[in-house]
């Protein structure tokens, strides 16, 4: 862990720096609050030990500045206070310091305070990591490992907003596994789950890097294709269909192929945009419905305007 020592008086600075280094920490020193702030912005500092009274920016102002700004990480701050003034401690904590050490400080006490600080920072880091994991879990479909419906909603909304604002093409695909209920009925839910996983993986591997594939629900998937016009979207959709065919999962109920196939409905937002996000999605859904009616294992594209634009 890297520790920043802030102290304007050179003897104390040297002693603190040496003491902290001897405890096995990586140390950086600054002579006042302003210098300290520059170091904090430039380096990954976990913990700050700062003197109170300093020229330019004092310790209290430094703490307030650290707490007032987003550094993207929690910085643990220990303020050095004068033992004689007991109200100092309260003021230090109120300003946002995590702990305080009376001056003149003693090595053993300082070491214990640093250890306590490190413990808090470690807990903080572990918590942050868990939060990130949970956050990721709320966006990932448990069965297939690709993005879930919630993730799709966010991604689609963002992509739509960008396309609308910058007048770009945006395509969206709705995908459904053909006669999946019959597959489940015949082979059981475990086999059904395996098929879902395999199809999801095939779709996810086949979409281009900038595209995103999601499990929309049940046996339905969805894809967002930014910067893609209708003909581009149809090409990608047919590639997805081919990828699923290549899996060659036996599905006797799904004739004429006898293997697991998908139907794809595609819709494209064309600049200048004349429909909303919901209409674009509904058009893709309509296209999927038509692909099913036209015999399955195919891609159908519909422009949202012909369905939803005010006449």
């Amino acid at each position: 862990m890297r520790i920043l020592v802030v102290e304007d008086e050179p003897v104390s600075r040297r002693m603190l720096t040496a003491a902290v280094a001897r405890m096995g920490y990586d140390v950086v020193a600054a002579a006042d609050g302003r210098e300290a702030w520059d170091v904090l912005r430039a380096e990954q500092i976990g913990l700050v030990v700062t003197d109170w009274m300093m020229p330019e920016m004092d310790g209290l102002q430094l703490v307030q500045k650290i707490r007032g700004c987003e550094l993207g990480r929690y910085v643990y701050v220990i303020l050095l206070t004068s033992r004689s003034e007991s109200s100092d401690a309260a003021e230090a904590l109120e300003a946002g310091a995590d702990d305080f050490v009376g001056k003149p400080w003693h090595r053993d006490e300082l070491m214990a305070r640093l250890t306590a600080g490190r413990r808090i920072l470690d807990l903080q880091a572990a918590l942050q990591e868990k939060n990130l994991l949970l956050e990721r879990m709320t966006r990932v479909d448990g069965l297939t490992g690709i993005g879930n419906r919630r993730h799709f909603d966010e991604e689609y909304r963002r992509a739509f907003e960008l396309a609308r604002r910058f007048q770009r093409f945006l395509s969206v695909a709705m995908i459904d596994i053909d006669r999946f209920k019959a597959y489940n009925d015949r082979f059981g839910h475990e086999a059904g789950d395996n098929a879902l996983r395999a199809v999801a993986a095939a779709i996810d591997e086949t979409v281009r890097t900038a595209d995103h594939a999601f499990r929309y629900g049940g046996e339905e998937f969805s894809c967002v294709f930014p910067e893609t016009d209708a003909s581009g979207a149809i090409i990608v959709a047919d590639r997805l269909r081919a990828a699923v065919e290549r899996l060659a999962i036996g599905h006797p109920e799904n004739l004429p192929s006898g293997i697991v196939t998908i139907s794809v409905g595609v819709s494209t937002l064309q600049p200048p945009p004349r429909v909303g996000a919901e209409d674009l999605l509904r058009a893709a859904d309509q296209a999927l419905y038509r692909a099913k009616n036209d015999g399955r294992n195919r891609t159908v594209a519909l422009t949202p305007e012909e369905l939803f634009a005010p006449r």
Binding site: D8, E9, P10, V11, S12, R14, M15, A18, A19, R22, D51, M53, P55, K103, P104, H106, R107
Partner: protein, 117 residues
């Protein structure tokens, strides 16, 4: 510790303990202290001559902290007295105290010369 007519300007046992019982490091700190304290003393005296008591207090504060770290007890005491008087705006006797502090710092300097790291 050598027996002397005067009390040693530092509590050597305490000072050394603060320096991790590293004599060489303690010597280095004493040198740092002297260099810094002399500069601050000059600032303190000029602040005193223009009656800037806030600045007097601030410079004395720095000397106080450093002296405390080295266990230079008398120097710390005098600096502390100057700081509190400066802060409360009580100029009386400050010139005398500043003289005392200068003398005490020179005693620390003499001690430092005799102290081998």
């Amino acid at each position: 510790m050598t027996v002397s007519a005067e009390v040693c300007p530092v509590d050597l046992a305490d000072g050394l303990a603060r320096a991790g019982d590293d004599r060489e490091f303690y010597r280095e700190l004493l040198d740092l202290f002297l260099e810094d304290a002399r500069q601050r003393l000059t600032r303190l005296e000029s602040a005193l001559s223009v009656g800037d008591l806030q600045e007097v207090a601030a410079t004395a504060h720095g000397i106080k902290g450093a002296a405390a770290n080295l266990a230079a007890l008398r120097a710390r005491e005098i600096a502390c007295a100057i700081e509190s008087r400066g802060r409360s705006g009580d100029g009386a006797g400050l010139t005398a105290l500043a003289g005392e502090l200068a003398a005490e710092i020179e005693r620390v300097a003499a001690f430092t010369r005799s102290f081998t790291g």
